[in-house]
Point group: C2
Chain length 214, copies 2
DNA sequence: TAGATTGTTAATCGATTAACAATC
DNA sequence: TAGATTGTTAATCGATTAACAATC
């Protein structure tokens, strides 16, 4: 059981969203209890890994019954910081950027898109959902004024670092990088890569080696 | 140096796209040689990890000079299967699906979108770029007829498994899952999660614990 | 040549799995 | 109660890092 001061291992943090998503679904289906074995089965893990992972959050299971889905969902959300609204901005109003602004799943999981920006003055002023595309010069005031924690980079790869630098100067504390480029940031700004093309390349490798010995 | 029969560790495969992207960029910038230290520096790794990783591909560096960017890019592409065109289909013609169909980066890295599908008959027939949205019943013939290796799931999370089952039956060998739901597939079909929302939740955790001891 | 950098072996570190006492 | 399931400790496994001989 985790005291608020220590960080969980990254490997554990990366699995927590899966537990959360699945537990929320069980709740919607009115399932009240779930065991480590059932979670493992559903998510392709071992029950041992599940119990180890859940021992990091501030929540206890019950012998012979497992974990209450209500309590588990709440604790997981709290552990991840998914119990509060997180404001994000999207930089890049191309196809991908627009899709992210309009992505329903974000709002449903507590991520609110508070602004969309583009360097191209031709698209500045266009409407994306309820938002207007703004010029990059407006980024700092939006980040400060609306308490934006996260910036999403959805521009061509070659502009990724430049956009990251803008976001960092504007004061975001986390960056979601949708490009294939590596982005450098100071320690105080967390960077996570979404790696869409890289994921396809992983698949390409997996397909190529299907049948080869492990 | 890797013989074609053994698979590389997943941890290595996940880093190869980063080496490839960076090396391609160096080539564009007319940089002919790169050392393991330079690669490590640029990508946030150690030079030891870089040398270990590159020892898995069929390519040798040169003492005192490092790796030829031309040779490295070619070998990495070959190792990943990125030297041939991979046909993909996108299932889901919502905002995200459409954005992926139109995503320039795919074509540039050798992924060709050969079809886009949706279960909603209202959007079937609409145009996305040069493609028409097709009904789900057309999926099997497209996958077979056009030798499609990969299906991308870009539908609401609750329909993810159903779409995965369609793709599997149609004969794809890999699935890129853009939803938060876990997707189950037989061993012969590789699944990679893009985890956009999960990545935001990772960031949310990182932000929440910024300043906490590691 | 001297010095820099590779490829590889050995050491360390961390993550996963197994095992089991505690418990409801 | 008996049996199932947790939380945790110990064992295993794999990934990363360090070290260094070989080499250009």
């Amino acid at each position: 059981m985790q005291t608020e001061q220590t960080k969980m291992p990254a490997s554990v943090v990366r699995r927590l969203p899966k537990y959360l998503t699945h537990t929320q679904r069980l709740r919607r289906e009115s399932v009240a209890w779930v065991s480590s074995m059932e979670l493992a089965e559903a998510l392709g893990l071992t029950s041992s890994t599940v119990r180890q992972d859940l021992s990091h959050i501030d929540f206890c299971g019950v012998s012979k019954r497992g974990y209450s889905t209500a309590g588990l969902a709440t604790s997981l959300a709290e552990a991840l910081g998914a119990d509060r609204e997180v404001c994000v901005v999207v930089v890049g109003a191309g196809n991908l950027g627009r899709a992210l602004v309009l992505h329903d799943e974000f709002a449903r999981q507590g991520f609110k898109v508070c602004g969309v920006f583009d360097a191209d003055s031709d698209v500045v002023g266009e409407k994306v959902g309820r938002l207007l595309v703004q010029g990059m010069d407006r980024l700092p005031e939006t980040v400060c004024g609306k308490d934006v924690d996260v910036g999403i980079i959805a521009v061509p790869a070659k502009a990724a670092q430049e956009v990251a630098d803008h976001l960092i100067l504007s004061g975001v504390r986390g960056i979601l990088n949708m490009t294939a480029a590596h982005v450098v940031a100071p320690d105080k700004v967390a960077v996570v890569d979404a790696r869409i093309v890289a994921s396809l390349q992983e698949l390409s490798y997996a397909i190529k080696t299907q049948g080869a010995r492990t």
